[in-house]
Every structure is written in structure tokens, then in C-alpha cells.
């Protein structure tokens, strides 16, 4: 019997960022449920939980003297504070040289 993962997999991929399908399948298989829909919904719930736990732990790091850019927005702001990269001028090649 073929199990159609298409709908659930689409949904799961849509819900988060690139999680390898093999990884998802492994975690889903680890659930006690035989129903792939339930297994994948459990993984989605887990992702929602991990996101919050990660942000909480990331927020605690600076207080402990560690620097961790767990907040993507902060990382982007840090990046913006750096000196702008100088763009190289376009090199124009005289036509006489390209004509051969």
C-alpha cells in the first residue's frame, strides 16, 4: 500500500524552513502513531515549541556573557551597522581591444 505524503509534506515544508524530508520522516516515524498525518502534525507542533525555546535560550545568552545572534533581526541590524562595502567600478573595455 502506498502512503501519500504529498499533502502533509507540502504543508510541513510550507510551515517552516527547509527541513530535509528524510529528517522529517525519521522524526515522524519515531512517533507512536501509525498515521502519517498525526506524525507530521506532531513534528509541526515540535517545531513551534522549539522555536520558542530557542528564542528563550538565545535571549539568556548575553546575560551569561556569551554572544549569540539567535535573533535574526538583531543579526541583520548588526550587519547593517558595518561599514558599507565599496562597489568596484565597472571595467569598460575599449571596443578596439574586443574587435580582435
Amino acid at each position: 500500500m502506498a502512503i501519500d505524503f504529498t499533502g502533509s509534506q507540502c504543508r510541513l515544508t510550507f510551515m517552516g524552513e527547509a527541513t530535509a524530508s528524510s529528517e522529517v520522516t525519521q522524526v515522524a516515524a519515531a512517533t507512536s502513531s501509525q498515521d502519517p498525518e498525526v506524525g507530521l502534525a506532531a513534528v509541526a507542533a515540535l517545531r513551534g515549541l522549539v522555536e520558542v525555546l530557542e528564542a528563550l535560550q538565545g535571549g539568556e545568552r548575553p546575560r551569561q556573557g556569551l554572544v549569540l545572534a539567535a535573533d535574526r533581526g538583531q543579526a541583520r541590524r548588526d550587519q547593517a551597522g558595518r561599514a558599507p562595502q565599496v562597489r568596484r567600478p565597472t571595467l569598460w573595455v575599449p571596443e578596439v581591444l574586443t574587435d580582435g
Binding site: 504543508r11 510550507f14 510551515m15 517552516g16 522524526v27 519515531a30 512517533t31 507512536s32 502513531s33 498525526v38 506524525g39 502534525a41 506532531a42 509541526a44 507542533a45 515540535l46 517545531r47 513551534g48 515549541l49 522555536e51 520558542v52 525555546l53 528564542a55 528563550l56 535571549g59 539568556e60
Partner: protein, 225 residues
């Protein structure tokens, strides 16, 4: 919920959440508000609904039929049950992080994690650490507008039902079609086309929207001192 809602409406919303949970739904939609209004039997709104042939048992059964027809999802396991299949005790985690980080920090981080960002994409559409997805925003907003228009200080159950009926007639805003909302709908098992199920629910119960609206307006006028 804002201050413009009466305590009775707060209770109705709690009952609506309870009804959604009872039906195995992981969201609260305007159709659950109707069930909440019916369950709060003491209000005049419940009387108006009953006079039009909608009682709690019939409405629950009608929503069950809509679930069979695929208009609303069937019963789904809760987040706690889903995480339980992975050996995770959600309540223990919730208690632990609140103890370590405090309620405010947890609330803030949950808000940040599920906040829609530029392009309508959030980190995650929802997290098990928050309650069910509330898809009643337009209905409650319309109820607030009705309260303003009719000169009421706060939204009462009658105005809430007026808002729910207005929600059936009003298309949901375009922002409800952004990727974040689509993620959210998918995460609670709703189709992308979901725009509330009050219309089909009242139709199943054989209630005419205009008649119910007129009866509510009459009730509101009668209630004004």
C-alpha cells in the same frame, strides 16, 4: 481582548474556545462564537437564536455534519496529545519555562516567534505554548464597530452576534490571504479558502440571516433605556 468587550462577551469567548476544544478543533472561528453564545443560555442573544430554531445540541450536530462535508475539519488531536506521541510533556515544559524565564518573557518570545514578518512570513505560524488560533478578529472588530455606530459603551452578546452575522456578509481582508495566514490555516487543518463557517452553519439550521439580523436589531432597540 480590549476593554470595549463586556464581561459577558469574555465569558462567551471562553465558552467558544471550550466548544472548539470539545469538537477537536485547534482554532476558534466565528462559528464557535455562535456555539458559545448558545451555551451562555442566560443572555438575550441565546433566546433570539433559540427562537429562530438554533439550540446548542442542534448547532453542535450541524457543525458535525459540516465537518463530514469538509467545510470545517474533523476532530484533531490537541498539541499536548501530539507532543505526547513524541514523549514530550507540554504542560511540564510550560511550567518549567515560566518558572525560569517568567510569564512576561515567555509571552514576548511567543509573540515574536509567531509574528508575521515582511512578506507575510513568520518563523512559525503558531506554537503549542499558546492557545488555539483565534480566527474571530474580523467578527469582533465588526461587533466593536456596531457598538460605536449604535452608541454602546461596550460590546455585549447581541452586538457580538451582529458582528458575526456581518462577518458572513463581509469578505475577509486581503491580508487574510498572505503566506502567514495560509501557514496558520494549514497548521490547524483548515483549507486556504476558509473564511468562517457561520454562513453554512446557519444555513444547515435553516436560519435566514436577514431575519435573525432584524430580530437582533429589534432586541437591541428594546434594550436601550
Amino acid at each position: 481582548m480590549g476593554d470595549r468587550f463586556s464581561g459577558q462577551v469574555g465569558r462567551v469567548i471562553d465558552l467558544a474556545r471550550d466548544e472548539a476544544e470539545r469538537l477537536g478543533h485547534r482554532y476558534v472561528g466565528p462559528e464557535h462564537l455562535v456555539l458559545g453564545l448558545l451555551r451562555d443560555g442566560s443572555s438575550r442573544t441565546a433566546g433570539v437564536l433559540r427562537a429562530h430554531g438554533a439550540d446548542l445540541a442542534a448547532s453542535r450536530a450541524a457543525l458535525g455534519r459540516l465537518a463530514e462535508a469538509g467545510v470545517v475539519p474533523g476532530p484533531q488531536p490537541s498539541d499536548a496529545e501530539l507532543l505526547g506521541t513524541l514523549g514530550i510533556d507540554l504542560d511540564a515544559i510550560r511550567r518549567g519555562i515560566v518558572r525560569v524565564f517568567g510569564v512576561q518573557a515567555v509571552k514576548h518570545v511567543i509573540g515574536e516567534a509567531v509574528r508575521a514578518r515582511r512578506g507575510g512570513v513568520g518563523r512559525v505560524p503558531r506554537t503549542p505554548l499558546q492557545g488555539p488560533a483565534m480566527l474571530t478578529t474580523q467578527a469582533t472588530w465588526l461587533a466593536s464597530r456596531q457598538a460605536e455606530a449604535l452608541g454602546h459603551d461596550a460590546v455585549n452578546p447581541e452586538l457580538l452576534l451582529l458582528g458575526v452575522l456581518e462577518d458572513v456578509r463581509t469578505p475577509w481582508p486581503r491580508c487574510m490571504n498572505n503566506p502567514w495566514v495560509r501557514q496558520l490555516l494549514a497548521s490547524v487543518g483548515l483549507p486556504e479558502s476558509y473564511r468562517g463557517a457561520t454562513g453554512p452553519l446557519l444555513e444547515t439550521l435553516g436560519i435566514d440571516l436577514k431575519e435573525l439580523n432584524a430580530a437582533l436589531m429589534a432586541e437591541l432597540r428594546a434594550g436601550v433605556p
